[in-house]
Symmetry: D2
């Protein structure tokens, strides 16, 4: 089981990198983790003319390959203006371009942290709809951390046991669903 994980923002100190790290710790003993930083696969703003002239940019090709190599995906994302961050959407848009849709059939877990009271719930909702449009299976469980500026201790752990439990359960469900859907079987051949 290989899980691609990344945060939806570019900022080095982002709350969602912290949240991602918490989840990755939970997953590490049970799966191979590919920890991606979106800055590693930098790409220009999507422009159909650019694509026609130059094809997919290097960053987009590498992002597509990382997605394709994974069985499952974990994204921790902020919300910008109650929706998907522009840079995350731009990366997804490039990754969805031909020749293939690497998101198809991937099992996805979404998390979100924000300093506000709503914990990125609307941003996560937007990303859910986008990845569903790309035929990913986004599981219903989420990890939502409101008031993220006060949510982590100095070691990077979540202070609130309920939040820790929510993240752990969501990760366990990601593993369960991804394992079931990638297992060979008489009724679920791939």
């Amino acid at each position: 089981m290989r899980i691609l994980t990344f945060a939806g923002s570019l900022r080095a100190g982002s709350f969602n990198r912290k949240l991602l790290n918490v989840a990755v710790e939970t997953l590490r003993s049970r799966a191979d983790i590919d920890l991606l930083d979106l800055r590693e696969v930098a790409m220009p703003l999507y422009d159909g003319d650019l694509e026609e002239k130059e094809g997919l940019p290097e960053g987009a090709r590498r992002f597509k390959a990382r997605i394709a190599a994974a069985d499952a995906i974990l994204i921790a994302t902020p919300e910008y203006n109650n929706s998907v961050p522009g840079p995350l959407k731009n990366a997804i848009d490039w990754a969805s371009r031909p020749p293939d849709n690497p998101f198809k059939g991937k099992v996805v877990l979404l998390m979100g942290a924000s300093p506000g009271q709503f914990g990125a719930v609307r941003g996560v909702l937007a990303v859910r709809l986008i990845l569903t449009a790309l035929s990913a299976i986004v599981i219903p469980q989420m990890g939502l951390i409101p008031r993220a500026d006060q949510a982590f201790d100095e070691a990077g752990a979540l202070k609130d046991p309920k939040s820790r439990n929510q993240v752990e359960k969501a990760c366990a469900e990601l593993l369960r669903v991804a394992a079931a859907l990638t297992a060979p079987g008489p009724e679920a051949p791939r």
Copy 2:
């Protein structure tokens, strides 16, 4: 594999009953079908005071039991005012009341037919979010039939081969995901 199927509208001649029938024909040889008519489980408008005084109405209890007995669910629904039909939402709301949430973990396929050009796409989207909130696993595939008043022949079949194919593929995917997630296995115990 047992699949509960129902249309989201009460009208006897609804396009979504027709669409449901097409999908049920596809599924019948590979699963036990529980074909429900929402009028069989008639229930009053949800009212917390009524619930407190009288408990769950008979129709809601029977609806909950039908959901609980299924491994997967297929819903074909119209959209009313770009969203979930009131009667369907009311039934889901009652079904979600304690002591249990029967939708939890169910694999769900959504379809929608409408006489308009958008094929109930926004109604189906609303139902997706609602059932996801109830921890159902709503697969990304859909069956959307725009211009439903012209879509069926006299025998009730879909005239357009592309639409037929879309419905068949979505049904196959429902079976695949539901089979994988309900199968016993070392990594996916239930």
Copy 3:
């Protein structure tokens, strides 16, 4: 200026009735308030066959008339399963049936209270999309009250000054937009 106001749930002791009362106090000196209880306009579940046979039910006709008589509308609604309550959607669906769409052009303010941390934000979002589909002008301001079980004092006032301020500002904006759009003028004749 006449404002129709109602809560989205039927329960007598609902938090949203309390929230509605707070807003109505704010509005009362500056507008005529029509305070509706959805139970006054009780109607059956929407069923196209019933409509064809018997026409609009009495409750729906009265609901349509109350909407039509208003310049603006204030709704305070809970969320059920992250979306519009079934009974509220059912009432809106009936009200949208021919011969007219009474929501068209009405200026609407949405509020929501819930005992959870998200303050009905997703329910209010669903209602926004539904009323927008019906050509109402739903202003962007909202009044969202999370943890509603602890939000009101014994006199029914909101304890938190920030929440009070949010409600007051949203009401003022409703009045501003509705007044501007209903005023006669060379560029905005009605």
Copy 4:
């Protein structure tokens, strides 16, 4: 009355530029049109670290100024993966950064063209929610052009009279609402 207009994609030959041009022709005699090409205000992907180090990029500052100078905004946008295009979201995200929110109170009309059957309806919906979050007043009317690859004649006009009528009515409503809300008056002082 000054209206800022732009298409949501960067591609020179985009259907949405064509759609925008149709709408601009309708509006030109009744308003000052600021016709923006998003490529004129090119900006990097939003990155909080970059913002902290260098402030707003030149393109973002110019985009903010163009928005601030307008009374109303018209956007014609494609949908990418059923949602807002990444580059459009990125531009909105930068524009929403302090010191000010230039979208606040602006009256907005959204249009969308796509080669598919759904006419960008879900992309327009996403943009509606984003601009509403920024306190813009997005009017309910829309201009949606499905099968956009066949929708325009050689002179750039919409072939279908119904589509033309929809665009004209939506533009007229934008003018009506914007005029009413920007007019000085006893009840709507600004």
